[in-house]
Amino acid sequence: MHRYRFVLFRPLQFLPVLFGISVITFVLVRLIPGDPARILLGTRATPAAIANIRAQYGLDDPIWVQYLYFIKNLLAGEMGRSTLYKIDVLRLIGTRIEPTLALVGMGVLLALIIALPCAALSARRQGRIADHAVRLASTAGIGFPSFWLGAMLILLFSVRLGWLPVSGYGQGFADKLVHLVLPGLTIALSLSAVLTRSLRAGMIAGLQSDIATAARARGLPESAVFWHHVVPNALLPTVNLLAVNIGWLIGGTVVVESVFALPGLGQLMVRGIFTRDYMVVQGVALTFACATVLINFLADIVTVALDPRVEL
C-alpha cells in the first residue's frame, strides 16, 4: 500500500499551487479598470456614498491587506456577493456546479465509449479501410469547432429528427440525462478524436511489442493478446492525456453551455463578465483552477492503480 502514500502527502504540494491561483485570480480582478464602488452604486452616486462604500469594503487599504482579507474570507467560505443575483457567490456556484460536472462527466464517458472501439478497430486493421475512416474522422473531430458542431447536432437531432431537446437542462434525473446527450456528444466528438489517436498509436506499438509476441508464443488467441495485454498497456499514456484534456474541457464548457443554454458554471462566468459581476468571475475562475488541480491529482491516483511500476 506504500505506493498510495502520496495520496496523503500530495495535497501538501497543492498549497503553493493554490496560493498562486489565489494571487492570480485576486490580481486579475483588481486589474480590471474602473472603481468597484462606483460600479456597485451606479453612475449617479454621490462622492460621499462612494467614499462610504470604499471604506466599508476596505478598498482604501493597501492591496496586500486586501489580499489578506480576501484569503481570510475564502477560508471562511466567503467569496463575496453577486451584484446581479444578489446572493452569496459560493451558494451561487453551488447551484450551478451540477450541470457543469454532469456535462463534463457525460462528455468524458461518451468520448471513452467512442474512442476505445474506434482505436481498437483502427489498430487491429492498420492500413485497411476501417483504419483510414477512423483516422479521417478523428482528424475532422479535432478540426471542427465545438460551437459549430453543437449547432449542427441540434439541427440534425433536435430540429430535423426531433429526437432530443434543443436546449436547456430539464427537471429530474432522466430528463436531465436526455438534455445532456447532445452537449455531451459535442464535447465527446472532439475529445474522442484526441483519445483515439493516442490509443491507436499505443495499441499499434503494443501489437508489435515483445509482450504481444510472448503472449502469441503461448498460444493465446489474437483477441486475448489484444484485450488482455495490448489494451492495458496502451491505456497508461492515455490517462494523463485525458487529464490534461479534462482541464481544457472545463474551459470549453463555457462555449458548449452557451450553445445549449445549460445553466452551468461556464454560462455563469460568461454572464458575470458581461455584467461586470466581478465576484462571480473571481469565484468561478477559482473553482475552475481548483478543479484542474483536483483532476490531475485523480489522474495520478488512476495511473498508480493501473501501472504497478509507478511510484509517486
Binding site: D210, I211, A217, R218
Partner: protein, 552 residues
C-alpha cells in the same frame, strides 16, 4: 524412431517491392525427445527466424515461407491453420529479454494462469495451486509471494525464471529458448542453464537453445547446429563437432571463443618511480534517493574504493551488473561527482580546481562506449565525427585533418572510404572500430572502455580485443577495460580488478587472480563461466549472488 520435431528443406524469403531475399535457405534439422539442441550463429544468421517460423510467428508480413516442411511427431504443422493449438501448448518459447516480454501491468501469477486456463482448462483455486507449484519448480523461494508480484519487482534472473514458468504452464513438449541468458550475469546464467537441464530431466522436455556463446552450448547441449547467413553450415553431436569441426566458419567460431587459459597476456609493466595516472582514495559515490518530503538514504554505488592505475597498464575491471564498475569508470572521467574520498588524475585532484583539472583529464583520457550505434551521431559521417574531435582538440593543423582521419581509420582497421559513411550503414563491429578511432583522435594517454564488446558477436569481439591489444602495445596506451566477461579480460589485461556491490574485492595480476583467486566471490565468478570444453563442467551451484537475487 521418428524424431519429435523434424524440419526439412525449410526456406523463408523476404519480399518487398518485387525484390526477394532468401533469409533461410533449405534448413534441415531434427530434434529428438528429451534432447537439447544448441543453435549457434552470429546475429543475423537466421537462428531466431528459424524458430519463429516453426511456431508460425513470422515477425513481418514481408516474410514468407517459400518451401519445405516442419513435422511435429510426423504431422505437418507448417501451413496448419491449427498452429495456435500447437503454439504454446506443444512448443513453448522463452526470449532473451524477459523485461520486455513479460507484461509489466499483469501479475506474474495471472500470466501463468492465462496459459493454464487456455491449454489445460484449469481455473480458480486449481490454477492458483498449479501456478504456485510451477513457480516453486523454477526456483522462486517464496512462490506464493511471486504469484502476486509484478515483473519489475524481480531481478533479471528471476524474471527469466518467471518467463520459464509461464511457458511451462502450457505444459509444452518442446521449449525454444532464444538467447535466454545473454542479458544475464555469468553466475545467474549458470543457474538458468542448470534449471533448463533440470527441467529436461524432470519433464522429458526437449529444448532448442539459441545462443551465440559456444561455451553455453558446450555445457548444456547434446547436439549443435551452426548457422550462418541463413544456412545451416554444420550440425552434429556436441563432442564430435567441437573436437573436429568440419566447416571453416565453425573453426573460426571455436577459435574466437575467449578461453580462460591463454598464454600471451602482456606482462605487468614495472612502474618504478612514475606517478600513477589515476589515484583513487577511499572513493564513495551515492545516488540520491527519495523525493519531495521523502528523503531516502540513497543508493551507495561505490563504497571505500581505493585504486592506483599506472602508465602503460592494461587493467580489467570485472563484476556483475550493479557491482559499480561503470560508476567507477564514469567517476574517473569526472562525469559523476564523488560523494566522499577523492579521484586524482596525474596528481591533480578532480574536485580541486575543478574546471582546469577536468580540461586536462578530457584531453588525456578518452572513452569507448558499450553501444556502438547510439554513441555515434547518426547524422554525421564517420569522417565528420572524427574531424569534430580533431578540430576541438586543436592539435592537428586544419590542412592535415583529412590525412589524420585516414591515419586513424588505418589504425583501427577500417578502410579509408568509411570516412564518408554514416553509422547506420555500418555493422556493429565497424561502428565500434569507429568509436575507438574517435577515442584515439584525442591522442589520449588513457582509454576507458566500458563494456565495449558486450553487444558484439564473438568473432567480432575477438577482433576488437586484438585491436585493443595492438593499440596498447604500439602506442603505450593505458587501458581501463570494463567488462562482465571475465574470459575477455583474462585475455587482454595484465591486471584484473574484481568488484562486488560497490567494493573492490580483489586486485592483482590477471594470472594470479584467475588461477588462484583469493576470494570465494572471484572463484565463484570464474567457475560460472561456461567452458567450451564439455568435459570441464561449469559450476553453477556456488552462487555469490543468490541472496541478492532474492532481494532486488
Amino acid at each position: 524412431m521418428t524424431p519429435l520435431l523434424s524440419i526439412t528443406e525449410l526456406s523463408v524469403a523476404f519480399r518487398q517491392n518485387g525484390i526477394e531475399r532468401l533469409l533461410l535457405d533449405r534448413i534441415s534439422l531434427q530434434l529428438g525427445k528429451g534432447e537439447i539442441l544448441g543453435l549457434v550463429g552470429e546475429s543475423g544468421s537466421g537462428k531466431s527466424l528459424l524458430c519463429r517460423t516453426v511456431i508460425g510467428l513470422l515477425p513481418s508480413r514481408n516474410l514468407q515461407v517459400c518451401g519445405g516442411s516442419v513435422r511435429l511427431e510426423g504431422s505437418e504443422i507448417l501451413r496448419d491453420a491449427a498452429i495456435d493449438k500447437i503454439r504454446g501448448r506443444r512448443i513453448g518459447m522463452i526470449f532473451q529479454n524477459p523485461s520486455s516480454h513479460l507484461d509489466p501491468v499483469m501479475r506474474i501469477g495471472r500470466q501463468i494462469c492465462e496459459g493454464l486456463a487456455l491449454h489445460r482448462g484449469l481455473r480458480g483455486r486449481a490454477a492458483r495451486c498449479e501456478a504456485i507449484t510451477l513457480l516453486d519448480q523454477v526456483g522462486f523461494p517464496d512462490p506464493a509471494a511471486a504469484f502476486a508480484s509484478y515483473a519489475h519487482e524481480f531481478s533479471g534472473g528471476m524474471r527469466q525464471r518467471a518467463m520459464i514458468a509461464i511457458a511451462l504452464a502450457c505444459d509444452p513438449e518442446i521449449l525454444i529458448a532464444d538467447e535466454p541468458t545473454t542479458a544475464l550475469d555469468v553466475t545467474i546464467q549458470a543457474q538458468i542453464l542448470r534449471l533448463l537441464m533440470d527441467l529436461r530431466a524432470a519433464r522429458g522436455l526437449s529444448i532448442i537453445l539459441i545462443t551465440h556463446d559456444l561455451g553455453v552450448v558446450a555445457q548444456t547441449c547434446d547436439r549443435i547446429a551452426v548457422m550462418r547467413h541463413g544456412r545451416l553450415v554444420e550440425q552434429g553431436e556436441k563432442r564430435a563437432l567441437l573436437a573436429a569441426p568440419g566447416h571453416p566458419y565453425t573453426r573460426e567460431l571455436i577459435a574466437s571463443h575467449p578461453a580462460l587459459t591463454s598464454g600471451d597476456v602482456p606482462p605487468l609493466p614495472s612502474h618504478g618511480h612514475a606517478r600513477p595516472i589515476f589515484e583513487v582514495n577511499d572513493l564513495e559515490v551515492a545516488y540520491p534517493g527519495g523525493g519531495f518530503l521523502r528523503r531516502g538514504t540513497g543508493f551507495r554505488a561505490l563504497r571505500g574504493v581505493s585504486l592506483q592505475i599506472w602508465p602503460g597498464e592494461t587493467v580489467g575491471i570485472v563484476g556483475e551488473s550493479g557491482s559499480g564498475k561503470s560508476t567507477l569508470a564514469r567517476t574517473l572521467m569526472g562525469l559523476i561527482p564523488a560523494s566522499a574520498g577523492s579521484v586524482a588524475h596525474d596528481g591533480e585532484v578532480l574536485t580541486l580546481r575543478h574546471m582546469a583539472a577536468l580540461r586536462r583529464l578530457r584531453a588525456e583520457v578518452a572513452m569507448v562506449f558499450q553501444d556502438p550505434f547510439n554513441s555515434l551521431n547518426p547524422r554525421k559521417t564517420i569522417g565528420e565525427t572524427l574531424a569534430e574531435v580533431l578540430r576541438s582538440r586543436g592539435l592537428t593543423e586544419p590542412k592535415r585533418v583529412s590525412a589524420r582521419i585516414d591515419e586513424l581509420l588505418d589504425m583501427v582497421g577500417l578502410e579509408r572510404s568509411f570516412a564518408s559513411r554514416r553509422p547506420r550503414s555500418l555493422s556493429g563491429g565497424q561502428c565500434q572500430r569507429a568509436g575507438i578511432a574517435r577515442a584515439l583522435a584525442v591522442e589520449p594517454r588513457v582509454i576507458i572502455a566500458d563494456e565495449c564488446v558486450a553487444a558484439l558477436d564473438v568473432t567480432i569481439q575477438s577482433q576488437i580485443v586484438a585491436l585493443f591489444r595492438k593499440l596498447a602495445a604500439q602506442h603505450g596506451l593505458t587501458l581501463i577495460f570494463i567488462a562482465h566477461d571475465l574470459a575477455i579480460v583474462r585475455n587482454l589485461c595484465a591486471r584484473t580488478v574484481v568488484m562486488h556491490r560497490g567494493e573492490i574485492v580483489e586486485d592483482g595480476p590477471s594470472a594470479a587472480v584467475f588461477d588462484h583467486p583469493a576470494r570465494d566471490y572471484t572463484a565463484a565468478l570464474i567457475a560460472a563461466i561456461p567452458d567450451i570444453d564439455p568435459d570441464r563442467p561449469m559450476n553453477g551451484g556456488l552462487s555469490p549472488t543468490s541472496q541478492r537475487e532474492l532481494t532486488t
